[in-house]
Symmetry: C2
Subunit: 341 residues, 2 copies
């Protein structure tokens, strides 16, 4: 397979993107198309071995410029065009998620039946990963959208994360039936009434630690807050540890002895750095890496793209969307009795 | 001053509540009224020195029973009654927040001008604390409520947290003007238009680590998700560390040398365990401790109650509510031009 990697987006572009793509190409034997400024890319390539079959496509403008949202010349847009044309099997970008989403919608479009594409983040947990969606594409949701996210998350978890029968939780501030706002209450009733496969009811953020769910469904506002809050707590914890270890000769010595293990915990505890976020409901495989992604994180995002391709994610998603009963849920704010798709 | 402590609520009741109250009484020379089962309380008191002026008030029924929401005999309700009668200056409880809120609303009522009481949690950050509100009392908010939370948070931060000119952030999924849902967009415009003192614009959860804000305003759903997500990440980080330290003799030895410092970081990183949550907009000082609070956390909640009392929080809050310009914000879903209080 071949992955198109946007080397222009992200805080450490192009170096981290090129290095991460090369890592992935070596580890997983993936063909690479690097999108960006050819001179910059060549300069990065000079550091190491040039993979066979490497393509470089010129795409100069910075895609994180807001005016570039619909810029067909941005690296993200060119990558989406390559995927559409079949010249690449997937796109990986560390540009602003809104930019990648807009480019994907424009050049790849939605899968039939997908009303609202969602961003699905793989959040590392003690045992494995939990897929959280939506984490930012849809800041205002209707109950029907949450039901659709549940369906797309279920397909992705089984197709790309090797989860046999995914357990789906609906993010809420308590697990009791009475908790939450009108949005989660309506989505909950709908998932229960239709016997949604694997639906495990309301789940608090604690479910990520307890391993009770494989997929956590949320509106894009709450999901985004969840992921960023976890990132914040992890980074504060890591900073606190660094300070604590430096406090005395005993603790400094302790750190020297435990350094490797502590570093591994830190790396894993950062959901943003570790996992990429997949765009679901799009007619193409697109993975967004964290803007601060280092080469390992970029490599991990490319691996996710490979897993999605290898797991026939798109075909299974299209089938899933086709088979999902047309769950009609009353729109919030509508008079009772009226439903919309 | 005298604090009424509900010894019936929480996972470690009554032991942790009694022990924590005794700690606070010793450290801060606070008079105590313990509410609960007198025999149980006496059994706990037998372990240590009995403080002078201790009162014990019988209040048997478990307040975390949902049917006890309006139970006037619960320890939380009796505590609120004592505060109302002037027999105690503040109430501390580790019962379910909904129960304590209901008891407080019923027996103490709202401050004049407070439309929506809010739960304000002090989240520990690298430098100090950030006050996050609302963290769960109001799962559906209108823009005007967020403006009111900003005002109450500002008063609390200056009266009880020694913050001179609190910087107020509005929780959002990005700091750019265009980000977020209709709710935060409308509240943002309103805070800007009225030149709200100290308003610093949109803030992501990252602001807790960067120290950019002293108060973070959110609807009760997002605020609750934020606090619980941070708790989850911290606990996963701590668990990961424990496992990592146990991995080899080197890391075990390292842990022994750094144990004290690591323990302090762990304790501080857990927002739920460390800080209590104050009910703002209520006509009385009420602090809710975490349900899993240990004696130190209970003691910390009692200290918060003392700080609120000593800082004349209620008087300042009442004045703040009175002085706040009657910011009228269009209700979401209303036709343009129509405003509500």
């Amino acid at each position: 397979m071949r992955v198109a990697v946007d080397t222009q987006g992200g805080d450490h572009a192009p170096a981290a993107l090129v290095a991460g793509a090369l890592l992935a190409s070596e580890r997983y034997r993936i063909g690479l198309t690097l999108l960006g400024h050819p001179d910059e890319i060549e300069a990065e390539l000079a550091h190491g071995r040039r993979p066979t079959g490497l393509d470089i496509v010129a795409a100069y403008r910075r895609p994180d410029d807001a005016s570039a949202l619909r810029n067909p010349g941005s690296a993200a847009a060119k990558g989406a065009q390559l995927v559409r044309a079949g010249a690449a099997d997937a796109l990986v970008s560390a540009a602003d998620t809104a930019v990648v989403l807009a480019a994907s919608l424009r050049w790849l479009g939605r899968l039939a039946g997908a009303r609202r594409p969602a961003i699905a983040a793989a959040v590392p947990t003690p045992d494995a990963f939990v897929l959280v969606l939506d984490v930012g594409a849809n800041t205002s949701c209707q109950p029907a959208h949450l039901v659709e996210f549940a369906m797309m998350g279920r397909v992705f978890a089984s197709a790309c994360m090797a989860v046999d029968r995914p357990r789906i939780g609906l993010l809420n501030i308590g697990h009791e039936e009475s908790k939450g706002n009108e949005l989660v209450q309506a989505a909950h009733r709908s998932l229960l009434e239709h016997g949604f496969p694997g639906y495990a009811g309301f789940a608090e953020p604690y479910a990520l630690a307890s391993g009770d769910v494989d997929v956590l469904v949320a509106d894009g506002f709450s999901g985004n807050i969840l992921v960023k809050s976890m990132e914040t707590a992890s980074s504060m914890f890591a900073t606190g540890l660094r300070t604590a270890f430096a406090a005395s000769w005993r603790s400094r010595l302790g750190y020297l002895l435990a350094r490797a293990q502590v570093g591994a915990v830190r790396a894993k505890a950062d959901p943003g750095q570790y996992g990429g976020a997949a765009l679901l409901g799009i007619n193409g495989v697109v993975v967004v890496a964290h803007s601060g992604a280092d080469p390992e994180a970029v490599c991990s995002a490319v691996r996710q793209a490979r897993d999605a391709h290898a797991g026939s994610m798109l075909e299974r998603m299209a089938r899933g969307l086709g088979e999902t009963p047309d769950i009609r849920v009353r729109h919030l704010g509508d008079p009772p009795g009226r439903t919309k798709g």
